[in-house]
Symmetry: C2
């Protein structure tokens, strides 16, 4: 099996200033063509680190992909280091120069050509993969059958380079096996208990199949990964393993093949032809964002409202002033009235509503940080939930609650 190592170059990653997202995308793309990523190494934008990284990676993997350090500014050093690592020199590549000029002209930025000219300097031995979304080209070096791809760091430049150029090139070059995965989402079954409960099934897994437990809130995703040369056989194998698992986890399975909870919801809503709307206070639009992150969501997502100021809850959603006076804004009653108002406003089958205190401070009604009520309304059925999550920072609180609302909705739709 071919193996890859990713080198993520950039001080901004090491200082915690920028969250790297390239490695996740590239790793997933490699897995898709049967290449195993064995390590991801984030390195400083500095000659000795990059050189050591290249040495280690090229000695230990069949393909090395680096990102970052290709900008026109002085803090970007990757290209020179790569050339010297291979005992090569930088030369101006006429095709890349023409591509660069064209790229800038198309964007009405012709005046930048002289300044960016040096971006067409590449190691003389490299093969250039042109970058259609930025000024730094991707360079491929080959030595003793091992490949190095040097990419820029901007994610929306990296993605098309990997997807449209590197992946086809590798799939064409090597006879790669298949890596197939199946993700089974289990709810209401703590990881430790689940693991004991399915131990005999897990112990009997064939040697080409591995299992990982990926907990998210109170959902555990069981991820089966099967490797082999026969795609059809792997499919059969994975579905047979699921069948064997079925009797052990009856009534606890949210999805037999889904990872992202918004995609799992999409499946259910499309199948049942149900429409949905959201009314979010403490989650501030995150549930709407998650639902609309699925392409085609306009088929079932009608709209959302974020009545952040409490007067808006009254004015737009018809929450009663008395409920607020009696129970404060963060209460079961208000959550229920919000989902009711939302269902009416958007005229949908389903409405969900959240109200809570994301922190770091108590709200104006003195409600504790981390308290949240959410109401899920499916036609004339309604259920209100309360969580207390005082240990989560604001961002984590919002994401946790949003995940959980969608998950509980899927549970209500599927398991009850």
């Amino acid at each position: 099996m071919k193996q890859a190592i990713l080198l993520i170059i950039g001080d901004e990653i090491l200082s915690g200033n920028v969250q790297d997202s390239n490695s996740c995308f590239i790793a997933s793309a490699m897995k898709g063509i049967g290449i195993e990523v064995k390590e991801i190494i984030a390195l400083a934008d500095e000659a000795s680190s990059i050189t050591r990284g290249l040495e280690y990676a090229l000695a230990n993997a069949d393909v090395v992909i680096s990102t970052g350090g290709l900008g026109p500014t002085k803090d970007d050093k990757t290209k020179k280091i790569v050339a010297s690592f291979f005992g090569d020199e930088l030369v101006s590549d006429s095709e890349t120069l023409a591509h660069l000029k064209n790229y800038l002209i198309k964007r009405n930025r012709a005046e930048l050509f002289e300044i960016n000219r040096s971006q067409a300097d590449v190691p003389s031995k490299c093969k250039v993969l042109q970058n259609h979304n930025g000024t730094a080209p991707c360079m491929m070096m080959e030595e003793q059958g091992r490949l190095l791809f040097v990419l820029p760091g901007v994610p929306y430049e990296v993605k098309p380079l990997v997807r449209d150029q590197i992946v086809p090139l590798l799939a064409e070059k090597w006879d790669l096996p298949y890596i197939m995965t199946k993700i089974i989402s289990v709810v209401d079954f703590p990881e430790s208990q689940l693991s004991e409960h399915i131990a005999s099934w897990e112990d009997a897994l064939p040697s080409n199949v591995s299992l990982a437990y990926l907990p998210t809130g109170n959902r555990v995703r069981l991820k089966l990964t099967a490797k082999g040369s026969d795609k059809k056989a792997l499919e059969v194998q994975l579905s047979k393993l699921s069948e064997d698992l079925k009797p052990l986890v009856k009534g606890k399975i949210l999805s037999w093949n889904g990872d992202n909870i918004a995609e799992i919801l999409a499946e259910v809503l499309k199948e049942r032809k149900l429409s949905i709307a959201t009314a979010e206070s403490c989650t501030g639009g995150t549930i709407a964002k998650m639902i609309t992150s699925v392409s085609g969501s306009s088929a079932y997502f009608i709209g959302g409202i974020v009545p952040y100021d409490y007067h808006q809850k009254i004015k737009i959603l018809g929450v009663s002033e008395e409920s607020i006076r009696l129970h404060t804004v963060v209460s079961e009653a208000v959550a229920q009235e919000m989902s009711k108002g939302c269902q009416n406003m958007f005229d949908t089958d389903i409405a969900v509503a959240t109200t809570g205190v994301a922190g770091p401070n108590k709200d104006e009604f003195n409600n504790d940080v981390g308290i949240v009520y959410y109401s899920i309304r499916i036609k004339d059925k309604e259920k209100t939930y309360k969580l207390h999550l005082p240990h989560l920072v604001r961002e984590d609180f919002v994401n946790f609650v949003s995940q959980r609302v969608i998950q509980d909705l899927v549970v209500m739709l599927s398991l009850s």
Copy 2:
């Protein structure tokens, strides 16, 4: 200067299944106390990888922090490997056992105690830092003045452990220098041009100060990092350097000290006492989410609406059917009517509105993927922008546009 290496353990990271966010948080926390993270290595959940990672990291850093692989299930192996690496053995720690029992009882999960009992087994030589938000404790090993912290992988368990226990412990143990940063946001100045323009200033930077260019959309964040033992002197140094930069980038500076665009907006809105509301179609709630990610945003964010279905744009925001018929939903006219309707609905000083095609398919009016119009309305002033971003995938499109809307609003408020 003390250096750290982070080891991110978990197959789910290497397969691109889970985006690691721990490393970013930990790196930022380390920098905050003057420890430089020199490498971040993501490794497989597998004995030889973890052992090699430990060897390399402990030989090359003063402090090593690992995350992941501490769960109760069979795919988690870190703890045993750490013990054997140090020639130690696992013993049941009574204090950790009591903590675990207590933790589960408090959560009405006492029945899980027996199953999780093994989570209180720790290397005999370790110091335990109790985890108040999960069942796996954090373990600290010390050898020849070098420290290893072994943490679980769940981000909301990692954050408090790092912030409340590891950071104070390190700050107390070592006499650490200060690392101070200042982030200057420049707009409308392409990275390559900016770099030429400020070259003499950059070349004259003192040796304890480094500069990084961090581009985000059409904004470039100039990040100055200064290291030294005198906090006050570093502050003076950084503000002197900013002063020197000022005349070179006149009229292009969005913020002299801010990283996150929603936080920069918060500063401006609070200072000018302005309220804001959002009407989002193609961005699906992301702008509202970004604005409300800032704590205290309820002081200026009144509410948001996501009229995803176009009938809702008409019904709720008063967009005219004729505009849609003449120009389709993705048009300057509709964006303008949306921001107008939004400003009226929430009665705010500012309203922003987006309408576009996030893809991957054309919309029902046959508008191209990647087209977006957004309208920014500040009291009676309005400006409409159009972007065409056909190369961005759905998620990147939404994030790019949302960033850009907030940024252009700050530009309108500050620079024009």
